[in-house]
Symmetry: C2
């Protein structure tokens, strides 16, 4: 029988009632003839409670013990989901990570999946079991210790199971009903996409459309796992949600798939830096060591062998960046005239795989913004994305204008 | 290095502060030179919460899933305890049941321990680890599923580890500071015993002195594990608590070690039952099938080939017993004149291994009760115990009088 992977996040299993509702959806897929692998998160709030215990106990904790403690929330949900399915007369059992065993690296709290043997679960499917409920987010290290996969670990678990079992699809049930052309809260014309390409989803995710964890989308792209994002709180049809898939599955896609934005950006400029080889490495090594997540980087030639270097980072890392850069200035490692931080900016991006084959997208974007009187402060581009920093007060205007201009409110 | 097993129950690890206090005690034993195996229960309330989830999800639950869910509470405590010890610079790590692996039968929710391999933990001790924190109450079945040991499972885990590792002692930290000659709430002269023999502890436990689970005491007796019961809420000396040990370790013991009582007893009498072979088997098979826990049984010869049969059982099982016996009467399997239930009785017992070698204890007990004007309704005796049923209103008087008469307030 074809295998389907279904993943339910913390809010979708927050109470016994919600677990029951999720189990009913599983039952529907079983009735269609699928053998189903269900990946569950901990009940909402549980993981935070456990992390709180660990943090309070040991601020610099042993990650192996952290993993042993924090993974227990998923085990509870897995057992309860299996029991709920059994109550519905669906043959089901739970698996904890070590029982599969889902083998990972020893990188505790951020382990990477090495292998998922399929024989054990496949044999049970052959014996009439219809649903394997697997505790997400966890595995076992080569040393036999429990590991966790870090942020987004349950999504990653689901995609990895879908790849290992060559599942027909991996359905991610969450609290939104799909991926939108832009944030519906700031643009009422935002439209749910039926399909989106992996690459577009990756750009949208890292730009703030936090529907799926980047890591799980990367994995899905590598193994060509068809991912569907859909809401656990609405009635579902077969075409519900958004399918994240290979671009070949998307017919006649628009040039631009969506407009993303990020409010939490700061623009920092180092004025009059000596323009010599290695200077960028010096600056960004120092920032990296200070755990500053640099996003955009732009270098302008200035005068007389000196240059201005501009970068963006999350607003709450500005202070850290300032300390790191002052530090290397004092030590004589880097010479610059001034560091100017502008925490009053935002980032707006247009994303679409169609850009690869169609020119003029950047020109159109800049013209749309100019027509609205919005000044662009920084520009960066990638193959399928163009991002600009603008004053924060223009964020909604910019998003709405771009959404209109690229006709994202209309299905292609 | 000698091995010590220390077990902390749910109330002793109910909060992070209490876990810290427990860890400090562990640190004291490590400083004395012990390699310590710590067995932990779930934080107080956690197991009940999980059991509640399971009951609500599936009244007739799959015990394998029940075990998978319910065992997670101990895993959390084990990790937190290991972290707390590490914070105190005590080299420690946690083990879940399957990691040891603590091998059990497949009798889910009431599994019995088959084996505890020691090589893994012993090797870690050899490498400098000083404390192995083990999640109590759980193991792994031959099929690789998680099992739990049922009521008192953590005490049993502790004793089994002490036996497997030939530990010098097994310290059970609980919310009482030891075993008393009688219940201090009804006899203010009650005295804490320094030592008590396994057999005495067994009789006291089953009589209602619920300090240690019967099963763990049986196991300790079989493997000669020295058990110490002590409070986690008081400062400890080396002689704190009560040592439960082989009678050979108890010098000059008193004839009577303690006076136990049970308020929750009912006396039931079947009047005028045909006195023929097999009649007792008929009665008590029917009661057993109805899940009535019969305690005392007394048969009196009455007249003309008929007899009266008296037994005691918990008061909340009286209705069940009445139904079961009426049922076999109606079916013509058993003939009796009347069933008389007296739910206004209590059981008082004196316990002591000294009785085996000293006569006159029963006579003295009966005289003490007679002197107080207390009528005895039923008597049963074992090698080291004499129990009587008396009217409930006399319970405190009987206990106090016996405690005085056998001079239990004075150390031997």
């Amino acid at each position: 029988m074809p295998v389907l992977v279904m993943k339910f996040g913390g809010t979708s299993v927050a109470t016994l009632d919600r677990i029951r509702r999720a189990a009913k959806r599983v039952g529907v897929e079983v009735a269609k003839g699928y053998d189903v692998i269900v990946i569950v998160s901990a009940m909402a709030g549980e993981t935070n409670k456990l992390v709180g215990y660990v943090d309070e106990t040991s601020p610099l904790y042993d990650a192996r013990e952290y993993d042993a403690v924090v993974s227990s929330g998923e085990n509870v949900t897995a057992g309860l989901m299996a029991l709920t399915l059994q109550e519905m007369d669906v043959p089901a059992r739970s698996w904890q990570g070590w029982q599969v065993p889902l083998q990972t690296t020893s990188g505790h709290s951020a382990a990477r999946i090495l292998d998922i043997p399929t024989d054990n679960i496949t044999r049970k499917f052959g014996e009439g079991m219809r649903v394997a409920v697997v505790a997400g987010f966890q595995g076992i290290s080569p040393e036999g210790r429990i590991t966790t996969l870090g942020r987004g670990g349950s999504d990653t678990t689901a995609v990895a199971f879908a790849a290992a079992f060559q599942a027909e699809r991996c359905d991610i049930y969450t609290d939104v009903d799909g991926v939108y052309t832009t944030d519906p809260r700031i643009c009422e014309k935002a439209r749910k996409l039926d399909r989106i390409a992996f690459e577009e989803m990756l750009e949208l995710a890292s730009l703030g459309a936090k529907v799926l964890q980047t890591r799980s989308v990367e994995l899905a792209m590598r193994y060509k796992v068809r991912l569907r994002v859909l809401s656990s709180f609405e009635e579902q049809s077969d075409h519900a949600g958004t399918l994240v898939c290979d671009e070949e599955e998307i017919m006649e896609s628009k040039v631009v798939a969506g407009v993303a934005h990020s409010r939490d950006e700061a623009k920092m400029t180092l004025l009059s830096v000596a323009d010599r080889p290695g200077i960028a490495a010096t600056i960004f090594s120092a920032l990296s060591e200070a755990n500053v997540n640099v996003d955009m980087i732009v270098q302008n030639i200035s005068e007389e062998g000196r240059t201005d270097m501009t970068f963006s980072c999350p607003t709450d890392q500005v202070a850290r960046a300032e300390v790191a850069l002052s530090d290397i200035k004092e030590k004589g490692i880097l010479n610059f005239a001034e560091l100017v931080a502008d925490t009053n900016v935002c980032k707006v991006s247009v994303v679409g795989i169609g850009m690869r084959s169609q020119s003029g997208v950047a020109a159109k974007m800049f013209k749309v913004l100019a027509d609205e009187g919005i000044n662009i402060k920084v520009i960066t581009t990638s193959e399928i994305k163009i991002s600009v920093l603008v004053d924060r007060k223009y964020m909604e205007l910019a998003v709405q204008a771009l959404h209109d201009a690229f006709e994202l409110d209309q299905a292609s």
